[in-house]
Symmetry: D4
């Protein structure tokens, strides 16, 4: 909103004081009772609001999706949505659903239009659900994604055989639980930003991901930053932002 | 190194087996006894190795700088270098030094050549040393930096008065101690990546930065990632990487 | 109890030594075997004892409610009481029950008689159960409550559109999980006490509410104090105390 | 600022578009280089900004005090200001200084005008510095303060002998280190809000105040809320807010 | 075993070398495959080994009880034994079982023969299972126990009405969750050892008993020591030891 | 105080109402400004108040000692009092001082009158300062103490050579840092109460005594309870209480 | 792979450039979609890859086993595989399965060929599942194992009766939960490496094995090192490595 | 000691009962007042006791060294001994001293007699003091040591250039702070035991070595075990034990 223009319009009588007041005050969201759905987010920040499905009932998810579809916010992304809720949602909208990642979308996805590729790497096979959340998020936001799973540092030759993809990537998402060393090793090899995602994979002194989290925060490689434990979505979103650059 | 080309050269007799062997084996670093100075890093990863001055004696710093200057790795960046060590270094090389940030450089810095601006914001005035480390790093790596200090969320109008810079930024570094809320608020306003830097500013239940760190990792805003507590350098480096895009 | 008057009464023979002794010793609670129900609390502290339902069997809850009703302590508030126990209680007493907040009352609630309004704000929709516990508690204690849900700082315009309610409030309860920044931002805007309630909403590095708790304790805004994680009742009770002032 | 009035003035030509624009944008703080001094805070929130002296140089403190005095923000409160800095400040302004609490004020303090008394209680004698910060803050903000020191629960008769002051108080600040039980016991006796301040007094498993902090957060008494470890200022400020009620 | 006498017997030919060797080596326990049941413990330490039922199958419990009964170690105490296992045990032996405390005994219990009374106090009603484990243990070891439940410090008059029992006790077991202040207050009133038992009762920042544990370890009252969270048995056992004095 | 007798005296006119009132209210401590010195503690709890010297100025210590000496509370025990403060105290009173334990007493100590011996054992030589605090406390309270230093479990034969003292003891204080295993091993050997004192001796993952503290709380031996890290005084005091039994 | 030989072969035309390239690049693992099965590990590191069954579906386990059997990697070890998955696996391969340890093997196990014996000791009976994982692993890798269960330090005579086995062992695995003192005591007695395995056995302040973990890391005995909580496999594997020496 | 032989000697009158008694009881250490110096340790466990210098006065160190030299326990190793204490020791004995490692020896060191080489690797140059403690310990115990410093995973080519030493090693000590990934990467490459030593090198979220410690405990590579933070001595000692095998 251009405040100067608005004020000039008021001065010139083009719009009334009340209209201007309304315009200054209008809330860029729809209040649907239990939630305020942000309908200007795509305009303001480049992507629509994303629905975090955990802890929301199927009814509330359907209701928020409805508000967003009405507001022209497709495609709608829903993360952490289990099979039962997804089935419920599917009764109301045509959805695309990945059960392992608990990830759903409503509406046609964009074609890849980022600057390069987003590589999603995991230390082990148990990290795949988080990795898929990251990969599907990045794809839903218009990125070409290369999956590089089970390349943990305890068998470093597995990672080394992928040097080409690593060197070609525009952004790399490094996902690992346990000791989380993958981020440091990739960070030392790559020449692009590395987004580290600690996972809660492990037991005992992994303390539900704390070990990998601390590891990644202390990475001795430059260009590495960290998101929350198991936050595949956050990593995919940020990767897309970096891969698309400033609009 | 193009392995196929190398092998073809061997086959064609253009280079000897021993030369090829050497080339395959040559270590891209200079071993100066107590350290292995990485001299190919600029080629391999786009920026030269950076010297972390804390816990290194002035002698060792001078010695590593020497190795890098000899290897044509200027400008050399030295972080966490106190006044006494900087004075010692200045006896050997022409340096540029900022005491508050404990940050030094040797050699001419590049002109800004990034895609846009890097905004460095802090919650309070006590966060400035970390912010300066971030800002000076980004500048030394060829970025235009806008400083936006003391804009903490407890007086949100101070932040709001900078909406223009926030919306224009290519990357934002949000630096805060105590409750670390700055990153979330900026993350909710901006449409570019936000690099959050928790600081050890605070007392009591801030637990030396733990409070801000957890806050930032749990940011409900998308596009936010986190580096280590007080790691201004890491944030500046990553910001530069994002601002320059893939080379 | 006025000790001087009691002693004078003894001296004047108005009451016997035994009566005085009894009066000095009488325990202001009813011992019902497994619990000592405080029946003087309303007199002594202005509000009757509140029953914490978690971990108490339906039988015990009914028994304590009985003791309080007999002692004229209505309305009786029962928190953390699940549907099954509430159903059991409803067989014995006419109750008002809110399932989302797991909150029940027995007896007629008072009309609002506080000095002003109590605003209950939440960062997200998942914080609503805790918010309702706070709001219902405040209402049961005679306060006018304004609910302001889903106004988290990642979309600060949602909060800003409520500036009027914030500036008008007598007390504000700020409820948030994850990074808990809501309390600081509201604390910086409001001119009344802000009671911060961290919630266990979140995952990974939220560590079941620890992140929000530390955030709120470190709030850089003045006038903010904190209660236990998920303690909606405690916040509602304290808000009522502040809103009613010294009786 | 009344936006409607402003817009009407624009419409009526009473003020120019540029003036209105300026008014809408004018930042309510003075930017003195390293800090943004909030000069509208007294108007907006009822009390002027308070200077946190720790980690600020004497020069910067003098500079901020200057900005505030110029802005008519007296009395100015400076917390955590050690003797040396206070001496420096005293060269420029007439100050009142308490060394034990590291607390200074510039300008005439107001007469007590709160609704009742603020009681400041401590568990031991080592908690006195924090208690004095709380008490002096409350006094500087216009409250009558009653000090009740060394009344820890290990000798509960010491606390009991003060029942009258406890029952008469409008707000009580309960300050304790070690096991922090004072807040619960006072909370169970009083009928007014209790602000609990954990202190870092103790050793071993007190973990620098963590023990008292957790204790106070888990208080089984209602009406108790908690501020950061050693945060006497925050408690005094909040107590004043409660004691003065909504302006 | 008197080594000198044994050696003299060998010298005098009263026992053979092999017999002496056996006697020096004989293990004072019965090896029943998966466990080594200590049958000399009553002789060595005054009480028989106690069976910790959690994590042991009913079969193994029955087997260990059998070994102890055969070894004349009655009464046998089994703690943390759930209803199902107790039922299984009851098929083989005549047992006495308390379900709330998950506590069973096999064999006739001794009459009270301690020096005085053991008082078992709890802060709330939710602490009763732990308290009963403590009380039943003390009773099974020959102590007169006085139960004093729901006397938490938030209503200190409830505790005060029991001053007589407190002053008369030989040992007091103070059991509390949440802020665990009970131990300090009792410790300040009593003139006998106080054994503090933190419980996992609470939520949020009670962190499963950590809050009460730290509180109790930091008790400012003398004569207080602490056992593990929820360790009613350990407290009852130690109380009996103190109450019986050196045999 | 016999309340019935007091009331009868009032009724019979033996004492006036005012005298009775005074008697009911008289505070059993002397208020010396910054502290309330408990002068009835010896009567009430069997031992006089003990002065914790850390964090108190020499002046304050002298002042409290003065109040206690005037109140007939000798011998006075002062713990954690460094050499400089002890020297200051010695200018005013004849003191006995142990620098390693930072422990002082004023007045003649009692002869040992406990039921048996108190054994003070340490794992290593670095635990000796804490051990001396415990031993000197016990001696000052009238106990015969046997010191058994440097008997840590890594050389279990050192402990085994002291079996006689262990079996003869009435109470054992087991003091250890690092892994704190001493308490468990002694607890398994002895038939008397074992008071475990974790010390902050160690480095790295000892986390200033946390490791030993947790170890001791989890002791698989019965009859073991724990006091705060480095709390030699608390252990000595409790040992004396147990060794003297109920007065 | 001998790089010089390869290059000579290229030069001599013995192999083509493409073949050499392939050989330099060939990944020593089979990519089966969701995992990269390491088939050269036995050659490279002396033992084949081991399958961690937790969190892998029966289908994936069968698929990986298949890849390994095809690659001649028998015997295949699968850890943390529950009964249901083991049953599924047994439909496809002849397996040996231990339910308590959740441990399976496919293929004939080797005869013991280590230098000496591996002793596996536990503190209690609840540690046996972890101990069996360790023992079965060591046996599957060709070691003679001596089990020494339930020899915790609270009854040190039980351990002492096994001095012969301790002194004869080549490696000792000391497994304990709760206070974890077993490792230190054994470490002080033995003259061979001791591998300490903390277990999650315990409750309250054992914090799921943290207590035992810290204890073992702080062992005052030399020759002790630690693996992750409950990591019986890791201990058995390392023990085998030490017992077999360098191949 | 052969008990059977001793007893036969008693029977045959070869030694008196008193001599036998003495022999059974004789303590294998010298009690020098503040410490019990173990003089049989070399016989019992293969190496003499090692003196941990931190927290011991120079006098005490000299005294213990004296006892050991008198007992024929040379060479004597003293760790964590600063320059001043070493100077003091050098006045009494001929010592070899390394200041960076704070490591001293008295007496001639043995020639290397282990089975192979011990490799000591560090992630960075700041880890060298810990590495030297490990290397010097291993050398003092008769091992050939290869130092491989500054080979951290952020520049993995530095580590790769040492594959030969890694593959040839008998034991590898992997020392790293910050994210501690070195142990996992080496563990994945080597076919010998890897002893991981976390160091306190780092800042912020390294939490004084906690990050590296957790990382190493969670290593996904087999054959890795961990010692305490900064415990170079422990690693060197254990490496020597493994390298020498069972004597």
């Amino acid at each position: 909103m251009d405040t100067r223009k608005l004020l000039n319009d008021v001065k010139d009588g083009k719009i009334s004081v009340d209209e201007a007041l309304l315009s200054l005050k209008k809330e860029p969201f729809e209040d649907i009772g239990f939630a305020k759905v942000d309908l200007h987010r795509r305009t303001r920040q480049g992507t629509a609001e994303v629905i975090y499905g955990a802890g929301k009932s199927a009814e509330r998810i359907v209701s928020i999706v409805g508000s967003m579809v009405r507001g022209g916010q497709e495609p709608v992304i829903i993360t952490r949505i289990d099979k039962a809720k997804a089935d419920e949602l599917a009764k109301n909208y045509e959805i695309s659903y990945n059960e392992e990642a608990a990830f759903a979308t409503v509406g046609r996805l964009p074609d890849p239009d980022g600057a390069g590729t987003v590589v999603v790497a995991t230390g082990g096979t148990s990290d795949i659900p988080v990795a898929e959340e990251a990969a599907l998020t990045a794809e839903a936001l218009g990125n070409k994604v290369i999956r590089m799973y089970d390349v943990g540092v305890a068998g470093i030759h597995r990672l080394m055989s992928h040097m080409e993809e690593i060197m070609d990537a525009n952004v790399i998402i490094a996902i690992a639980g346990m000791e989380g060393a993958l981020a440091s090793v990739i960070g030392g090899l790559a020449d692009c930003p590395v987004i580290a995602v600690p996972t809660s994979v492990g037991y005992g002194a992994s303390f539900n991901g704390l070990s990998a989290l601390l590891s990644m925060l202390n990475s001795c490689a430059s260009g590495v930053s960290v998101v929350n434990i198991d936050n595949g979505f956050g990593a995919g979103y940020l990767a897309s932002m970096i891969n698309h650059g400033k609009k």
